[in-house]
Amino acid sequence: MLIDKLKILLLLFLFINVSCNDHEEFQNDPNSTTEANPGLLLTNIEVTALNSIDLNAAMASRYLVNVNLAEDAQYYGWDRASFGFYNTLRQVKKMEEEAENFNNINFVAIAKFFKAFVYEQITRQFGDIPLSDALQAEQGNYTPVYDTQRQVYLSIFELLEEANDLIDINGPAINGDVVYNGDLQKWKKLFNSYHLRVLMSLSKKENDPDINIPGRFSGIFNDSATYPIMESLADNAMYTFSEETGNVYPFWQNASITTSYVLEETFVERLKEFNDPRLFEMAAPDSNNSDEPMSFDSYSGLLGSAPIGQNVSRLTNGEGSALNSRYIDDPEAEPNLALGYPELNFIIAEAAYRNWIAADASSYYEEGIRASMNYYGIAEDQIDNYLQQPIISYQPATGLEQILKQKHTAMFLNSGWEPFYDNRRTGLPVFNVDGGGIINDEGVPKRWMYPFSEINQNQSNLEEAIQRQFPNGDNINAEMWSIQE
């Protein structure tokens, strides 16, 4: 009897083993989707590509100094940068593909803008970069050839022209837009305003007849029907922060910001010299004067190029203004501004100064200041008082310096590395390098070395690009095409 029961048990055991699912049923990943609409990709692209609050940029552009760590950005000791922006381009390419699947021309236009925007971020760091041959891994090209920087810029102009052509204000709506909430007219204005920024970034090439920077600039500026540009702060390319997880202002509750960073001395001194009320919004009084926040004398900075020990001892003596507490206490602090109406005014003012367009530099200069003050919520009468100061009023002889100083002020903790590249292009405002702590023998570096990943993964194309650009090899002091006279 028992033996029979056991035999049955054995058979049952065998049956358990035979009943299994088909292998095909395991080929669906329940944790991630294979389908997307372009709007789902757009949100992430906007938040990453337009991220413009960058501590390294703030140190390299002489807004902030770090008193805890000898930072490469502050002491100009950097060497390489990464090609990480290409990861954003992958998202842009996917968005373009999905846009074509969804037959949404406006997403295609936005994708073209972001391609231009991101390629420019990359080329201005290094020089020649892969563009026409890039983003083709899916077609089997894993080692893209480098385009010359000149070709990269021509492609960027082309992309921006196409974007402006393609976008259809009355066409299909877009979703997932945390910058303009689907307002296509504002996107169109951004395309052209940004186009002007890129043209201005090539001011050293203004005499190159082939590329015709002044002509391109005036062509856009003078045809606002075809090429609308930003007209107010409401057109700013920016997104806002909130208290939601991961959506907070990057410095929120960050002890490292409060303890490590103070404002840079030359920047504070300029704001004090100009009686600039924006100082009170940007900074906190130094610890010697913490009870008098509304006096310019209560503010001081530490020198970006001084050895860290010197800055620390000045700090221990009570000098050095920290950032205004709203950057730390308020999760919304201020928006992430990638390209703003104030900056655009300074770009136009500079174009007028350079006679690329027939326009009044002074009025754009003043409008830029006014817009920036508005951005910080400065009262109108204070703005008027500020503008009436002789040191502020526009003088054609010192126009370029005035425009770039004001542009520099307006880009405090926004617009990413733009102030650094303005300085590279114009030398203005002057970044101090004589404090004794600078690591790079030649002062402010001109560029970044190409990333290790390209040495390892794309060496022959990289070597060709280095050889044709930099006879002395890949180094941070070499001048790339865009800044050669």
């Binding site: 991630s32 789902l40 959506n247 509750q253 002890a255 600078i438 390892n456």
Partner: protein
Amino acid sequence: MKHYYHDKIISLTGYFFITSILLLSLNCSAQANDKAGDTIKKLPESSFPLTIQGKVTDKTTGKPLYGVAIQTFKTNRGTSTDTAGEFELHLEKPAKGLSVSYLGYTSKKIILNDPGYLDIQLSSSISDLDEVVVTALNIKKSKERIGYAVQEVDGKKLVKTQEPNVVSNLTGKVAGLTVFNSTEFFANPGLTLRGESPLIVIDGVPNTSTNLWEINGNDIESINVLKGPPASALYGSIGRNGAILITTKRGNEDGDVQVEITSNTMFQTDFLRVPETQSKYGSGRNGVYVYSDGSGSGQEGSGFSWGPRLDKPDPTTASGFVERVQYNSPIDPETGERIPIPWVSRGKNNLENFFRTGIVNNNTVAVTAGNEKKNIRVSLGNRYQRGIVPNTELTNSNFSIAGRLKYKKFTADVSLNYNKQQTDNIPEVAFSSQSYIYNLALWMGANVDVRDLKDYWVQGQEGYQQRHYSTSFYNNPYFLANEFNRGYYRDVTYGQISLTYDFTNDLKLNVRNGFNYFSLDRNTKQPISFVRDFNRTQGNFSKSYRSEFEFNTDVYLNYERSLTDDINISSTLGASNLYRSTTASTVSTNGLNVPDFYNLANSRNALTGSNFDAESRISSAYATLDIDFLNSIYLGFTGRNDWVTTLPQENNSFFYPSVSLSYVASKMFDLPEIISNLRLRGSWAEVSDASYGGTYSHLESYNSGINWQNNASLTFPGNLISPNLDPQTSSAFEGGLVLGLLDNRLSFDTNFIFVRDFNNLTNAPISVASGFSSRLINANEFEKRGFELVARGSPIRNKDLSWDITFNLSQFRTYLTEIDQGENIGQLEEGDRADKLFTTVWQQTPDGRDIIGNNGINVRDPFNRHIGFSDPDWVYGFLNTFKYKNFDLFIGIDGREGGMAQSRTIRNMYWSGVHPETVNPFRAASSRGVSNYIADGVVVVDGEVEYDTDGNIVNDTREYAENTQVVNYEDYMTTYHSRAYGNHYYDMSFIKLREVSLSYNFPSKMLENTFLKQATVSLIGRNLAIWSKVDYIDPDSGTDLRLQTPSMRNFGIHFNAKF
């Protein structure tokens, strides 16, 4: 030619598993034939009283053995052999059998079925001739028949000085097995077998989700390590990296009910390795410290210990020392100002004062009963650990039941285990403000006494603001211990049922179903004002849940047969199926409304969460064939085919062949007397797997991106998946020699390993400008070369005193032999060792001088340079067992030689200013504001250097002059030790006195009139001493990236009794 015929006695090991396991030899067939006559009749009770006489000899040499213990099963009657090996035992009462045991020999049980003279032969346990080990699929084989490396660890060797996780007890005990013992509470010890992570198999059932916390060492009968692919090929893809087979205990078979109690308690009393910090200078920067509000900004110096000198006399103050305002200054009720207090070194012993004595306690009760036909074992175990960090406790409870039933041609073997691991708090180990070492040693100045921080709330702000000397960067360690808690609750159930049916003596069927299931509930409680990543948080609560289920089935048919007297064959045909599923989810609050109320409903903002599910299956069919010639040549073949779900379906089937040969030369030839055993073995296997990444990593899909103000988003991953993925394959060869000398009192077992890994499933990096940063493809080839030696010896073997030694030694190297995509993998080139380390370094001249920049500080090299290798050169263990009368002494020493790793602790000790070497005249000057440090090195006065893209110098016209630039010492140290890593990689070589246990076995005479049958008491010690090249940290864990917790010495007592 020698012959080995069976006595009427049946060896304990040979008999124990006889019906459920394949036996492949003539010897075993003979056993089976014995058994065919059913069980051996025992002597009728009427035969007693009876005097039994007999002789015990060495099976190999025939020499008599002196001092062999002879005992009856139930009673404590016993005697021992005389110098002629003979004994006489008078039995008043009926007895069923005798157990015969002798150190260095395999014990035997003898059923008394004949009142005549007993001729007993014992086999040396250090010879591998009769040693039976468990191999893949739980098939037991005599070691001499095996053509690949297997090493067994007896369960008894694991129980005396028990570590919280039994893996740690394997350290040094198996050649080729490297255990990286963590100093952290409830952290998994790192375990690698020949450089890879092996499969764990418990009672024949693969368990791919175990971390071995669920196993109670007292339940382990033995552990067999199948070292390489040839040994584990029958497990298919999951067994590619070798396997560790754990066999749990079963009931006894002598018809008796036995209770066994084991109790083990160890105290972690003092530091073996701990960061020692200077106490001459306190918090601050540039010799200045002024407490303002604890935010760390300004004059406080944000936690650096570069402040003013401590313990400086000042006759003008009441205390006689310089006084300063500090965080714990009393407040003057009239002015509201803080009153200065002495600036003295209160914090000298902060680590000792904060950490407490840890306890590891393990109690197990096991009841066993049974006879040859049915037996059962039930055990209950509880392991308790009290961590050295306050408020850390772990309870790990086990319940297990196992038994075996034989009925006619059936054998059933069943085991079921339940385990519960629970702790309310696992301290976090990280280079950040969650770490105790970070808060206590690196950044707390010697002016702070940690004991003053025991009140960890600011008065009036309980629940909202912790009290600390600095509240922006650091956490009060007591606040951290009591309020920042990470709970971990894991329920594990696993078990198996194995049924065997013997159709005939030659043919049997085995069916085994086994399962492993765990559910894990974790939570993290972050109090309000907790500092994480330099952020003062709003409090948080997160809860995560994970469960994994694994069901494994094996069915096989075994046939064995003697073809002629000299040729036997045995063959197996089988199929198996492994199903795995995982489900996991996490939900977190976004800030807390009410302090100290840890519930998801208490979230300030919207909850965030995610979940994960996965299912996979491997179906397999396999066959084996073993052929024995002349009792000395053993040839084995195995083949297995797997069908997996984790690869594209076109390529999901793969086959693994293996072949092995064992040749016992000493049985075939008459060798010189000194050689008692000579055996050659060799094996080859090809094993594949598809275990790259996760279950679905071969499928392309979007990831979820950032959620920006309720706009969900997607991103496309940067890994381009090739549509034609194949499994990755290892082709493994190993060969070895086993040599036994002087009656096997000295033996060597060597093994050479050569493995070629090809078709590796690799995320091969590609130029990110192509749009993707890597491609998942089959690429690259690695070669692994290794050497293992197990040497055993018995220098002393007398009646009263014996000394047995085991020495394990291994080396394992991996070389990159072929790159398919591009010219490098990272900075590795073809032919390089795969463990080559590259990191940021300071620039040097071609003749090795440091290059100093014009700011007086070293210049960083723009290229990462090769600084050493991470793998150890040698891993070894030296195990000594001494026996003197009733005393046993075990001394285990092990270590590793070579291998480098970064020490974050030491690097940051220099940076923060607490390293004892930073106390010197330069610092004294620096703290007075004087810069007088001149870095040793040269400055470039002329010329330039040009590198090619790989960093090789192509043109160098540099001219140098001795550096004369004066720099502030503190500036120099903080910069030098924070901007490059090369100088903080240390040689991780060490030798450790791992384990000492001194045991006293109560003699049976002493226990005669008690209820006890057997009793042992031991004094034990673990982790007692270390010699290493690196200071302050314990290199045993092989890493110090996350600021390791101090390493502790363990002392305790072990007690074992049977009744």
